[in-house]
Symmetry: C2
Subunit: 149 residues, 2 copies
DNA sequence: CGGTTGTCTTGACTTTGTCAAAACAACCGA
DNA sequence: TCGGTTGTTTTGACAAAGTCAAGACAACCG
């Protein structure tokens, strides 16, 4: 019987091949590093990858994250005041909720009525490709513990 | 007769005093550096300030920008892939249009129907304070010159 | 299985910004 | 008007996050 872990590796390998990328241990380990709903920075990913492949360099992680992002297998976000974060949920242009106190990030679906709302009132002649929305506020834990921002 | 330049310096000084900040040459020079609608990074500001006050240090500029931002006299934005930018238009929570090719930034008013639209579909229990919207696209010049992104 | 091409390692470097201590300047009150 | 106090600026070291380039190495194709 095939283990789930093996299944996941094979699925990851198939996605890499589909994107025209070579299948390497580093890349599989980066896929392994992400669990659903997480937003990890390059250092988080390096830490997790290094547990399995201790010789993996920081630059390899930057390289993998860049390649996977370019291939559309990861999405990169850069909230103000934070290093770049990566997530596995791609292709749906969802948005983010960031805690101004602890920095935790959550996904939120597209805003209600998106198509009509996210048309800027003046376009300055731009050909607009995407609208990115970030909500800032206090997460339940920080709110409960009395954090002010 | 009073010159416009003197008027502007006095207005800037009054705003500083109103915010409880000491009036210094550096701070007045930073105000001078901004023209309406511009989005300048710390280095841009330092360059302009140094034309008038050549001894001004980089750290003084960071200090002034931080103080003015904290006082609500400047607003800081941090578009992905760019150093922090500052603008003089504050207090109206307007949004931004960023060219993915050349990086130019323009202001846009609040999106149409904002109040209704910018409510996320799931709040994860957050106490939401603000919604930040960034539009990405090609500016007219880059669009005309055939840039692809 | 060997060659080609793309990936990873190593290590220097850049950019953007922060921290801390001492010199200095603005402002208040006498 | 003149000090004194407090806040600002200078100086210089440092830190975080990421980039660049060259050579070693591994994946994939035939």
């Amino acid at each position: 019987m095939t283990s789930n872990a093996t299944d996941e590796r094979e699925r990851a390998a198939a996605r890499l091949r589909g994107a025209g990328l070579k299948v390497t241990e580093s890349r599989l380990a980066v896929f392994d590093a992400f669990h659903a709903g997480e937003h990890l920075d390059a250092d988080d990913v390096h830490t997790r990858v290094a547990e399995l492949l201790p010789t993996t360099s920081r630059q390899a992680v930057y390289g993998v994250l860049g390649a996977l992002t370019d291939a559309g297998l990861l999405r990169r976000i850069e909230p103000a005041g934070s290093p770049a974060l990566y997530e596995t949920r791609t292709g749906d242009n969802h948005h983010h909720l960031v805690c101004t106190s602890c920095g935790k990030v959550f996904d939120v679906g597209c805003v209600v009525g998106e198509a009509a709302c996210l048309t800027p009132s003046e376009t300055h002649g731009f050909r607009i490709a995407t609208a990115e929305v970030t909500f800032w506020g206090l997460c339940p834990e920080c709110s409960a513990s009395g954090a002010l921002s």
